[in-house]
Symmetry: C2
Subunit: 266 residues, 2 copies
DNA sequence: TCCAGCCACCGGTCTGACCAGTGGACTTTT
DNA sequence: AAAAGTCCACTGGTCAGACCGGTGGCTGGA
């Protein structure tokens, strides 16, 4: 069984009485620096746009060597908290929060775990359905116009080839995700979509009947858009789920297809 | 509008013809090392449990100084990909995937209001609904028994206090997530659940009517289990969504509550 | 065969150095 | 006085070499 992320803490054998000791990990110096800076940022003591002292100044403040300070900065940088630029006399910059880190980790999850295409499709259907459901209720007029524009581009792209069509398709789904107002859904959906596309890359483009596929997909998307325009969340969700199923179901086994079908009905 | 993670690539002003230049960021040496190792891990060339050469050996292979190699290792380490232990003659170890990084990023976003409780609840309702829907169809008898055991523990815990109840509650949801057969949903759900709990920590436990809450939650969970046992996915999804709504809706604003309600109907 | 001790090697940290680039201060020009 | 150009202190990126405490495979003795 592979259940990552499900760490069990208590050992279930005989624990006498008092102990409950925790394993102690050696704490490296650079980790303490990272902790201090992270805490300062989390508490608002350091605010995006603000600058950290220069590395050499930090060396003095933390009382370590520059190598140690730099290791800490590299970690903070890779976590998207700060950015260093060579030559900048103002020192490293505190960055505003972005979902970039989330995206990176999700991407790793999607790549590292043995995620089958079917599993990814389930995720995609789930995310898209929810995004549509929310977008139908929450979308602004501007966002609706953006979706309409994307669909227009899809319509124009049917004769331009799969590449352009797919791009407009992605733009539509992205617009819906944004309109859902949910960062988690938006980021997850983007990651999963990317991964799915990379898995079926080529297959769709070289399908014999690709123009037919595109036309049918376009119809489905128009249904979705209509439902969103009408504010009918459940209908939008239903249509989008059906659309994804029709588009991709051919690429999974019969058994997996049955799993996908479980998500279809209302 | 705050939609981080939605980077626009094309500038929409007059681009003459050919260019389409991309901004070039200076690539530090340590980043290239990180890339190489990440790629090797992603491609399966490096497998969890396997060891990296020692730092001094990497210095030779990459043709850089030890400081540079170490910065790369610190980044990889902070991303949960490898672990170095001083004195270990086998070198840094390639780690199996964990959800720790995901959890960290989610917590960070939640702390900075980039991800509100309402948004997390939407995600949770979505994930749980889908997990239940799938579990109703895919669950094995053993998995069903596990769910029943968890519910029994919940029932026994009503009088034992919130802590124990919550633990059994988590166990039930985890069992459902496992039964869904979808790693993505399982991990995401665990992480989101964890974050939600940390946000409402204490509030639930100290609620005046906590025993009433627990009893109602128990009823909801029994409904969910019944639906799963009956193989009725949609009903299980509906019941679980309603359960989460009832449990948490009191902690979000009226406007946000309306968003959550959009997920309730069939 | 098994155990204790050794020692080569590991990672963590430090010191000190060099380089190309940045951007504010300063000077010159308009 | 404002704008343009120049300069240079200081920055981050990288390197070389060193020391330390600790680890674990190897080896020799019981």
């Amino acid at each position: 069984m592979a259940h990552p992320g499900a760490e069990s803490i208590r050992s279930d054998d005989a624990m006498k009485q008092q102990p409950a000791f925790e394993p102690v990990r050696p704490v490296r110096l650079y980790e303490r620096i990272v902790d201090q800076v992270e805490t300062a940022i989390a508490s608002g003591e350091l605010v995006p746009g603000q600058r950290l002292p220069s590395e050499r100044e930090l060396v003095v403040q933390f009382g370590t060597s520059r190598a140690t300070v730099r290791e800490a900065l590299r970690v903070l940088e890779s976590n998207g908290l700060v950015r260093s630029r060579p030559g900048d006399p103002n020192g490293p910059e505190i960055l505003p929060f972005t979902s970039g880190g989330l995206r990176k980790q999700l991407h790793r999850l999607a790549r590292t775990e043995e995620l089958t295409l079917a599993q990814l499709l389930v995720s995609r259907m789930m995310l898209d359905a929810t995004a549509n459901r929310l977008a139908a209720v929450l979308r602004t007029d501007a966002e609706l116009a953006g979706m309409e524009a994307a669909i227009d581009r899809m319509r124009d792209s049917v004769d331009l080839g799969f590449e352009a069509f797919s791009e407009a398709d992605v733009a539509f789904h992205e617009a819906v995700a944004v309109a859902s107002g949910n960062t988690m859904i938006q980021v997850s959906n983007a990651v999963v979509r990317d991964t799915v596309l990379s898995l079926v890359a080529g297959k769709l483009a070289h399908a014999r009947n690709s123009k037919t596929l595109m036309r049918r997909s376009l119809e489905h998307h128009e249904q979705v858009l209509d439902a969103i325009r009408a504010g009918d969340g459940p209908a939008a969700a239903r249509a989008s789920t059906q659309s994804l199923y029709d588009y991709y179901a051919g690429y999974v086994s019969a058994a997996e297809r049955r799993t996908l079908q479980a998500l279809l009905d209302g």
